[in-house]
Symmetry: C2
Subunit: 196 residues, 2 copies
């Protein structure tokens, strides 16, 4: 039954990609070999190629899947009928949850995308810039509607995205507050300063 075979392959492929994300995050994409990955997965290097073609393909998968998630979420929120502050909060909460629950892949997409090959590299850069511009547009809209202080929108976007990447330290810290507390605290610290 081809359908089931595809499904099984696909879940094994996902398993391999998950292990790759872990290694790419820990060692960096450039320093991770297919041999390292085979060892992490617990198979011979040759049998990895049943599931994936190359390291480059795995990185593409990780980067574009993450981009899709974030863009899809942004689209839903852009069109919702709430204030700019509420939009920013909802987007930030989504980013925070991704960094909490889907940490390895999100970090790899954020840090290792420069290792993508063409045409993926240029495409990812364009998407990344567009995403940041759309976040800035929500802030611009908020400033115009007097919901947000007259700050520089690109600076606010940089601060928010970099603050979220700080969740890396939260993952490493020994005495963690809960994920919910982390999320609520980040929203207070990052969003309350924007409100008029």
């Amino acid at each position: 039954m081809p359908v089931i075979k595809t499904q099984r392959n696909s879940s094994k492929r996902q398993f391999v990609i998950g292990k790759a994300a872990k290694l790419f995050r820990e060692k960096g994409f450039a320093a991770t070999s297919m041999r390292d990955l085979a060892e992490e997965v617990g198979v011979e290097a040759a049998s990895l190629y049943n599931h994936i073609q190359s390291k480059a393909e795995i990185l593409q998968d990780i980067c574009f899947r993450t981009a899709n998630l974030l863009t899809q979420n942004l689209e839903n929120i852009e069109n919702s009928q709430v204030s700019a502050i509420e939009k920013i909060k909802t987007i930030l909460r989504f980013h925070i949850r991704q960094m909490v629950n889907n940490y390895e892949e999100v970090q790899v997409a954020d840090r290792e995308w420069r290792h993508l090959t063409e045409p993926y590299l240029s495409n990812f850069k364009v998407q990344r810039r567009a995403y940041r511009q759309r976040l800035a547009n929500i802030i611009i809209e908020g400033i115009q509607k007097k919901q947000v202080k007259p700050i520089d929108p690109p600076t606010a976007v940089i601060i928010m995205l970099h603050a979220v990447s700080g969740i890396e330290s939260w993952h490493r810290s020994l005495e963690k507050i809960s994920a919910e507390q982390l999320e609520d605290n980040m929203i207070v610290i990052l969003v309350d300063g924007l409100k008029i």
Copy 2:
């Protein structure tokens, strides 16, 4: 005159370290060779050794000089008679200025310190942890004095330090706001949300 000779050596050494910081930031410490550095400085690799002993020594110099700057600043502020909010603002402004004016070295100290060798690595880790704890203590003091909202202090520290590292994007952006505007915007966004 030995005094002058020492001075000239020292400024040449500084020049080499500045070039090394640039390379370490761009390529990472691990991927930078002494040959790359010699090329960047514009001398033969052999003559680099008149000024520095090893790549490791350069990284130590960069990391500990940056740590000293930040710690010295923190000590001055901890003992000042101003509110916790004012202390946080002053510390953040110092971090922001370092990231604006002393970008290469600060980024290298922040990102590449894991490549330090012992005993420097353990020492740097301890200093880094202590620094973050002292920042958190200022926030704790502010919460106790009802100057700062009851947020989780380590989370606030993570957010502030990671937000500052976002100045990397500012350096790369084509249409930059001025350094003063950047600083003022970051303070509004990061500190206004903390105030009660």
